[in-house]
Every structure is written in structure tokens, then in C-alpha cells.
């Protein structure tokens, strides 16, 4: 199964607090483990929400909203797409990640919908 891992680190990412070299090295090491295990399908980090946009739908009406967005805790700072055999396996991998804060969300990608 495929799972999407959303890093809800708030606005810690991006320009405000650039990751330390040690932090980056830790992350690279962990990501390397995942790649070697054949788990990573895709990954990316997101720019701060200040340069993000939202499009709100209301019937025929579309409203474009500029960032930054207020709900800091819910903001996604990065994502992974993993190929794993179970949600438990995804949890075990995620527990090994070298993070000291933030909430990470694991969501299964439905097999029957668009990729």
C-alpha cells in the first residue's frame, strides 16, 4: 500500500529557521535508510505558506486567498509518499525519524482512486 506522510511542522521550515547542518545530516541519513529499504516513492519540502495560495470553491464562485495562513500547527511543511506493507510498518518507520517537534500524519492512498 501507499501512504502519504504529511509533516505538520508548522512554519519551522523555510526561511524562518533554516535547518542546522547536523539536523540536515540526520535527516539525510534517515531518508537514505528509507530509500535503501525501497520505501520512498516520492518526497518533497514545501516553501513557507507566505508564498502559498488557496482557492476556495463556493458554487460557481472561486476565491483566491494569499498566504500566509493562520493555523500554524496544521500547516504542512513537507511530504513523503511511501510504499509499505501496512500502516504499522509506516508507523515504525516514522518513529525512527530524527525530529524533535511537530506532528506527522500518515494517510493511506486509496487503491481505487486516482494516483
Amino acid at each position: 500500500m501507499r501512504v502519504l506522510v504529511l509533516a505538520k511542522e508548522g512554519e519551522r521550515s523555510g526561511a524562518a529557521t533554516p535547518p542546522t547542518p547536523e539536523g540536515m545530516a540526520e535527516y539525510e541519513k534517515f531518508n537514505g535508510e528509507l530509500v535503501k529499504a525501497g520505501v520512498v516513492v516520492a518526497a518533497g519540502r514545501l516553501s513557507p505558506s507566505a508564498v502559498g495560495k488557496r482557492v476556495r470553491f463556493d458554487g460557481k464562485k472561486r476565491t483566491v486567498i494569499d498566504g500566509p495562513f493562520a493555523e500554524a500547527k496544521e500547516l504542512v511543511a513537507g511530504y513523503w509518499l511511501w510504499q509499505v506493507r501496512s500502516m504499522d510498518e509506516a508507523i515504525e518507520w516514522l518513529k525512527r525519524a530524527p525530529y524533535e517537534g511537530g506532528t506527522f500524519e500518515i494517510r493511506e492512498v486509496s487503491q481505487h482512486e486516482g494516483a
Partner: protein, 424 residues
Amino acid sequence: MNEFSDAHRAIEAIWRIESARLIAGLTRFVGEIGAAEELAQDALVAALEQWPASGVPEKPGGWLMATAKHRASDLIRRRKTLERKYEELGRDVERVRDGTDLDAAIDEDFGDDLLGLMFMACHPVLSKDARVALTLRVLGGLTTEEIARGFLVPVSSMAQRIVRAKRTLTEAHVRFEVPDGAERVARLASVFDVIYLIFNEGYAATAGEDWVRPALCEEAIRLGRILAELAPTEPEVHGLVALMEIHASRLRARVGPSGEPVLLLDQDRARWDWLLIRRGLAALERAEKLGGAMGPYALQAAIAACHARAATAAETDWPRMVALYDALAELAPSPVVELNRAVAVGMAFGPAAGLDLVDTLVGEPSLKAYHLLPAVRGDLLRKLGRADQARAEFERAASLTQNVRERELLQRRAAECAAEKIAG
């Protein structure tokens, strides 16, 4: 109670993550897959006993390895004859007992061990079936029940197959090794073939009710990706991964609403997995950039890429596909490749040209029971307006396939030909 079962599920997941490198490291130690697997399983049992109460250790892989190594030392101590091994092991165990080595046990680079285990499980001394079963068991971390289900054989037969495979390796004194040069190339080729066999059994199930068994495909792709990281300079490993990813991108589109097969040219391309296609094309590019002549997997991936790059079936670059099949037929000649080449020729230069080629294969002994020969012939005959002959070929193809879903599809095509005959 709930905490208890949570711990068990966590342990199961950890086993899936750790078992291959655990067994690999232990096999290097004790020299035998069977003994290594038992040691790893003992460590798992210890974890099941201790972790629900003590909590999962911070480095569960290191814990399992250290526990298994302690047991390995006991085992080898009992086998007094293995003096040399004992001394090696004694040193290692002392390091682990110092407590300083526990982190290193998990941080250590297991790459070569995993490759050694792959080479051993895919050793040419074993039958193809045995290689597949043993690979899924020790490298995929699948249970015997899961493997038996994947290959539609009774659990007891699969268990026996695995036991026999391990015994064969021991009796043939197959060593745990990662050779260089030509030997390495040959051993890698054997691993490629085993992984692709697993993939194909999932992709075009040769028997049974289901047309595809995606779990086997996923397992094969995962093994391929692991191997690509272990041998990144080998062009063919990227060719193999590309081939599997591009094929797998169609998994969803090649099954209709009621489980029936949908052939490639009839598939809704919007339902293809474009992420896998992009990954597959990138892997193919990686293979090509490493240079040298393309191997059979890279060539097949390049053929699959012709379909993947075409936005509609009509836009397929058939002449390029014919050229790639020419190269493949030269490199790895086989009647099946010739048959596929005939299909491409039929699309590129008209059904009559394709039929001429297929007709030269009709007497081929190895294709006597191959259902796709009459299926392809039927298709070409139908395009030439020879509906009667086409119907007979589809019926023959239907009688030859072991897959229920595929048989239904072929019978339907035969019926369509009969209808065309009446309409014409």
C-alpha cells in the same frame, strides 16, 4: 490488553523492516540461511516475550541483532567442530557484550550482507521455484502462508519447498559471498530473473481466479529498488526497476469493473499511474546514462516506455518498438520475443506482415501450449477480415490458458468473431 496487541503489531512491523538484514548478517556469521533464520526467529520470540512489558527498545534492529548473535554464539559453541568460526564469533560477541557495539550493530552498513543473501537465495543450484520461494521468505520477510497464497499452492508444499531449498544450499556447500567481476555479473543476472519472475506472477497470474495479484508486484518492485541501491552502477538493475515500474503503472487500468482483463491498447490511459511511469522513465534514463550496450531488461523497459510515452494508443511509436524488439531478439533470442516482435510489426507495417512472422512460429515446439500464440494469430486474422479462422484461434487460446479471467476474455473475442462473420 490493547497495549499488548499494539506491541505485537509493532513487533510484526519491525520484523518486516528488520528481518532481511538480520538474516543476512546472521547468515554471514553462521554460513547457513536455515540456521540464521532460526536464530532470527528466536530473537523475535524473545522480543515478543519482553517488549510488551518493557516497551520497544530505541533501536529495535540492533536489539534483535545483538540477541540473535548471543544465541549464535551458543549455537556455535555447541558445534565444537566449527572452531574457526567460534573464534571469530567469540570476538564479535565480546564486542556486543561491552554494550558499546549495540548502536554500531544497527548503524553498520548491511549492504554487502543483503547482497550476499540475495546471491545465496537466488543461487543457480536451486530450481527457479525454490529461488523465488526462498527470496520472498528471507528477503521479503513474508510468511510461508503468504507465499503459498501468492503462488496458489498448499502451505505444506510451500513449507517443504523452502526447507528443501535450504537443505540443497547446505548440501551443495554454497558459500555466503559477494563475488567480483564476471561471477558477480552472472549472480546478479540470476537475482534479476528471480525478482522479475515474482513480478510477473503478480502481473500476469499464470493460474487461478484473479488476473493480477498486485501484492506480488509490490514485493518484486521493492526488492528491485533495494537491489538498485545495493548495485547502483549496474545498468541492468535500473532497467529491471524501470520495466517493473512502467508495467505496474498499468495495474489499475488493466482490470475492468468486474475483474476482467483490459488489454493494453484498450486501456484508459488516464487510469495509468503517472507517478510510476515518471519513476520508470527516470530509472530507464539512469540505465542509459551508465552507458554500455542495453541489457535485456533495459531493452524491455525501453519497449514498455514506447507505450508509456504515447498519450493515446494511436500515437504509439511502433517502428521504434520494432527496432527495439530487433535488438532484443538479437541479444536474448526466444520464440516469445519473436511473437511480441510480430505484434509490433503488425502494428507498424500492417497485419499481413505481422501474420507472416507469426506463421513462422506455429511449428515452434516451445510455443505449443502457449496461449498467446493463437491469441496473437487470431487478432491478426481478425484484422485481415478472416473472422472464421480468427474465431478458431481465439477458441484454441482460451483452451490453453490456465487463468480463468483470461479464458473468459478470449472466449468473448471468439464470440465477437462469430458475430462479425454473421454480420459480414
